[in-house]
């Protein structure tokens, strides 16, 4: 997809989102303590401004090639790379899901191991050892030193 088409897509998505947001803001009910502007006043104004900005991006995509934007912008990578990104997203979601059940140290061990493998580390002793050292080290820093209580795991309680 060329940059102008991307801008068009961004413009359309922005307008759709901004209109939905403005409608959602209009449905906010004020309490008896509300001021003249109300809880929905400023969000509605922001929603309308965003719709206007979305229209601006859409319109400008037709009049010039595109704005330069963030220098880090790149095209979507190939199917293999996308699969790896999706797998990493799945791993992060899985970490969040398993953390309360199996506890912090096993969960972070799995995250270290699996994300290392996904990133291309060879499956061997070095990776296993780094995860084995990293997990308890992080637990010591956060749970013991900084007194942030990490879950022990409902399965073991």
């Amino acid at each position: 997809m060329n940059p102008a088409a991307r801008d068009r897509l961004l413009g359309v998505l922005t307008v759709v989102f901004a209109v939905s947001y403005t409608l959602a803001a209009r449905s906010i009910e004020d309490s008896l303590l509300a001021d003249a502007v109300g809880a929905s006043g400023v969000p509605q104004g922001v929603g309308i401004a965003m719709a206007a900005a979305g229209l601006g991006v859409f319109a400008s995509s037709w009049t010039r090639v595109t704005a330069t934007g963030d220098g880090a912008a790149e095209d979507l990578p190939g199917a293999g790379a996308i699969a790896r990104t999706v797998a990493l997203i799945g791993l992060l979601v899985a970490y969040a899901a398993m953390l309360p059940w199996i506890g912090y140290v096993p969960a972070i061990f799995v995250l270290l191991l699996a994300s290392g493998l996904l990133a291309g580390a060879p499956a061997g002793l070095a990776l296993f050892a780094s995860a084995g050292v990293g997990a308890p080290t992080l637990w010591l820093i956060f749970d013991r030193l900084l007194q942030v209580r990490m879950p022990l795991g409902r399965l073991w309680e």
Partner: protein, 496 residues
């Protein structure tokens, strides 16, 4: 002169020296870990100050603050993860330099600029606490609203040549800031009946998602980034030519940090972003910003560290804690039976002078400890990329969980990371979103308070002299930046 002698005299106490060094070290550790804010790092030590004498206790807490605000820049540069909100402005150029194999140089600039800003702020604190307190008193809700508008006026400078997309990003940041309880009536907004959203979304969660998680999701598909050579992996302090180049952005950062610091509620994050934008505006090489400009590190770091001292002005002189960290420090005073405010200078001058001396020591300690610990930090991030990605993700997810002990936060940060990939794809700049997020509450709450005070008359924003001055300044900055951006983009069009 007596005050100066008293401040310097406090440096001869080994307890104060130990508190300054220990506090800075603890602060750097806390600031460098995502999820541990400066105020949390300070709060963790608060119970331990009970048994200390007041001067040592206050110096310990203030040193943690100095160390934490500096420490936030280390992961921002090395792993694209701002350890504190204020370090978000350092991410772009700091991490760009690190990826070019110039991590040591970036960290050296950050360290020196932090020292420069910290000492400048301290000088202002010592010399001008009482006159500056009057400026803080002059800030009405209308002036705070206008201050927020002034903050938003730098969007053009942060939009990387795409003003419309920058506006969309900033508006999105404002929308995220509106999630949670309404600041006036307490009505829930955009919470979808989820208790996790009732308290709103902490800016650090969005920043970690947009910077760190997005970067890791992108990096996992890319070839190994450039590893620093043996010489580049060493901490490198700026040479004379670089020192001269950095003078202007450091001065900009120090002045902006001072102004923002004495204003309760403004804080280091706004100061960092404003100084970044101003440094770019006044730079002879603005095109380098965002691609590894040393000035893009110097300005926000000087501002951020200037705030650590000047944020104490309203707290010490008026008893108004302008930030969470200042509130914790105020707690330290109260624990020892000292009430911050105008009378503090007459009732406990030795503690105030000890604090001034301790802050000087803390800045020196920050520099010396930085020289020692930055080398190993650089070595650490120069390890093979797969292990580094795994370690960064583990650190980030642990830090995120540490904020509220919430699984929801982990899922939120992951979702924000995915959205960050989309922003890259459509070339939408990230910094305006962060700015909108940080300023959302300040703008909305003070806008509505002002209208309540004026009975709904919007002229209050123009009749309040401070508000009017800030709005005029915002208008001038917007027009000037827009004009410069217009001619810059025209120039690009001609070149292409």
């Amino acid at each position: 002169m007596d005050a100066l002698a008293s401040a310097l005299g406090s440096l001869s106490s080994w307890q104060v020296v130990a508190a300054a060094f220990g506090g800075v070290l603890w602060g750097i550790l806390g600031g460098a870990l995502p999820g541990i804010s400066p105020s949390i790092a300070m709060a963790l030590l608060l119970p331990f100050t009970v048994g200390l004498d007041p001067t040592t206790a206050i110096v310990l807490l203030a040193s943690v603050y100095v160390g934490a605000e500096y420490g936030g820049s280390i992961p921002a540069i090395l792993i694209r993860t701002p350890g504190t909100n204020a370090a978000a402005a350092t991410v772009l150029d700091g991490h760009a330099m690190a990826k070019q194999g110039r991590a040591g140089e970036a960290l050296g600039i950050s360290l020196i600029s932090g020292l420069y800003g910290g000492l400048f702020g301290l000088a202002v604190l010592v010399i001008a606490t009482q006159p500056l307190a009057e400026i803080a008193l002059a800030f009405t809700p209308a002036a705070y609203f206008s201050l927020g508008v002034l903050g938003l006026s730098v969007i053009a400078g942060l939009s990387s040549g795409s003003l419309m997309k920058g506006c969309i990003a900033a508006l999105l940041g404002l929308m995220i800031a509106f999630i949670g309880s309404d600041p006036v009536s307490g009505v829930s907004r955009f919470t979808f009946d989820s208790p996790d959203l009732l308290g709103g979304i902490k800016p650090i969660l969005i920043m970690v998602g947009l910077f760190a998680v997005t970067e890791m999701l992108a990096q996992i598909t890319e070839p190994a980034w450039e590893r620093a050579s043996r010489s580049a992996a060493r901490l490198k302090l700026p040479d004379w030519a670089m020192t001269r180049r950095l003078f202007k952005p450091q001065a900009i950062g120090s002045v902006v940090g001072t102004v923002e610091g004495v204003t309760p509620g403004a804080g280091g994050t706004i100061a960092a972003f404003m100084s970044y934008s101003e440094a770019r505006r006044w730079s002879s090489k603005p095109e380098e910003f965002g691609h590894g400009s040393p000035e893009g590190i110097a300005a926000p770091e000087a501002a951020n560290n200037a705030v650590t001292a000047t944020a104490l002005v309203p707290m010490l002189s008026l008893g108004i804690p302008g930030s969470n960290s200042a509130a914790i420090l105020m707690g330290g005073f109260l624990i020892h039976g000292l009430q911050p405010g105008p009378m503090l200078f007459t009732r406990a001058p030795e503690v105030i002078h000890g604090l001034f001396g301790g802050l000087l020591l803390a800045n020196v300690a920050m520099f010396l400890l930085g020289l020692v610990i930055l080398g190993p930090c650089i070595w650490l991030v120069n390890r093979p990329k797969p292990y580094l990605i795994a370690f960064i993700l583990a650190l980030v997810m642990t830090g995120v969980y540490a904020i509220h002990q919430s699984v929801f936060d982990l899922l939120l940060v992951t979702a924000v990371g995915v959205f960050g990939l989309f922003m890259r794809w459509v070339r939408m700049p990230v910094l305006p979103l962060v700015l909108g997020l940080v300023l959302g509450y300040l703008i909305e709450s003070n806008y509505r308070r002002s209208l309540l005070i004026s009975g709904g008359d919007p002229m209050i924003f123009l009749t309040d002299p401070v508000s009017l001055a800030l709005l005029v300044l915002a208008l001038v900055m917007t027009l000037y930046t827009g004009w410069k951006e217009f001619f810059r983009s025209k120039g690009k069009g001609v070149e292409s």
